[in-house]
Subunit: 322 residues, 2 copies
Amino acid sequence: MRTLVTGAAGFIGSNLCDYLLHQNCEVQGVDNFVTGQKEFLKEAHKNQKFSFQELDLFDFEKTKKIIASYRPEVVVHLASNADVRFGLKHPRKDVEQGTLVTYNVLESSRLAGVKKFAFSSTGSVYGEPEVFPTPENCPFPIQTSLYAASKVAAEGLIQAYSEGYGIKGYIFRFVSILGERYTHGHVFDFAQKLLRNSKKIEILGDGKQQKAYLYVGDCMGAIWRILSSQDEKMNIFNLGPDEYINVDQSLDIICRTMAVSPERVYTGGKRGWIGDSPFIFLDCKKLKSIGWKPKKNIAESVEITLKYILENKWILEKRGVE
Amino acid sequence: MRTLVTGAAGFIGSNLCDYLLHQNCEVQGVDNFVTGQKEFLKEAHKNQKFSFQELDLFDFEKTKKIIASYRPEVVVHLASNADVRFGLKHPRKDVEQGTLVTYNVLESSRLAGVKKFAFSSTGSVYGEPEVFPTPENCPFPIQTSLYAASKVAAEGLIQAYSEGYGIKGYIFRFVSILGERYTHGHVFDFAQKLLRNSKKIEILGDGKQQKAYLYVGDCMGAIWRILSSQDEKMNIFNLGPDEYINVDQSLDIICRTMAVSPERVYTGGKRGWIGDSPFIFLDCKKLKSIGWKPKKNIAESVEITLKYILENKWILEKRGVE
């Protein structure tokens, strides 16, 4: 499976490159290093089956050229504005980095004869659903964030390309992913805050937001299983665990691991920020029905992530542009 | 209700300008005249409450300036690539004219302090649904055309703006609209073909595609009722009749009105073109529950449309760019 991965130097992208190389695939990674880290590709670069191109996917002509010259069978498009919380500060960013960039990669893939196009979407496309756990075919949702709106836009494009041009589409609706090379999100934020001040910590919202988290290794296993076994026109899968945890409980694990007990100060409200979904819990029956199950639970995932951050403190200085 | 209408010189746009002026609103129309017709605004221009700006909405700076200087309370964004069938020939067109232009108008509206943002979406966002008639909250659909994908993308943007910035959103999911100033679609195509050759006619698909059509006057009544009575954060409504008709039956009406009986040649297949939905029938209970009902049935709408085309044959020469 000759695969091109966009966002290859990112958290999920670099883990995917390593995983695919272990499966003996040829892999080309592309990344613009805006949030991606060269460090994350060190392992991949040791493998002869890996190649890399620095590329800004907003540049359509260059994207077209690079995909055409690599001629992958599969494109896994992970590159994205990962900054869910700050969409309202710069609304054009999600439109450009989410929707337009996906168009550029998708159209380039079509022109290069790519057979399968896979995309990292999000459980946030369900907005604030009424059904929990939320299945892939829940009622037509209403978007609550620019980030998710750009993911829905990209999903629609991929679906139309699948119908119109016969490219098979793979859409992964992720919960938040945790694990090695994690570079943003609540574990990151809490660790950063506690390293600065272990006596007191600010929590966005009321701490009762319930979220599901998946370990990146389990995520890789799911992607691989879907890509290598599913062959419908469109293959849409939720990816998540069969449990959830609230923000306070997650902070309990973090504090225990760091051996601190800070005073907790809540900013209040059901949501951590505008567009934050107070409850994310996806129904992953479809994914399980094809033989996948997660190996790590949420508590273990939080611990692994935290340990990784504490052993790689340079990451705390490398946040993407907000 | 001081209203700015984009696509004001189009079929639906020009009817809406006239309707709003009759309701004593102040109206500014904008259009780039790519598919819009100056002729359609003749009535509106007689009214002192009407003003007009020629504008390409792809130009963000100019769009921002014009909306800021008019300072509407309500923006009704109808401008769009109306060419549903030819999306696959130029995939970038729907992304630019659908998604990006909507972003430009929406962001300009936010910056200008607009309170209500209304948008013409389509029943095609339901793809090929499994539920008929199809309600607004049917299962999360899969897109089948670039046209509908661009509408879904725009819907998501409007929803995220509504949540994030407090602009009230109005989304109208139309069936196909018929009536005076109709400039494209099956009645247009059939009339054009029969005027060229009344002995023989080619029909895209098997003639059994079932579609719902709504008279433009009824559509205006629905838009007005929704805008003037609904005040939720997001107001999403299907707009259609409570009946449907197949392509052959519609052609029967057209042939009877034109007094011709051509031989029918079918291109075959359930769909007229890739991405054509073989059955569109929307559940409009929600719209009816706020006191609306259509005054014309589908047969009358087809007849009115055909008569309008035959009395305004210049329109047959004015198709938009494909």
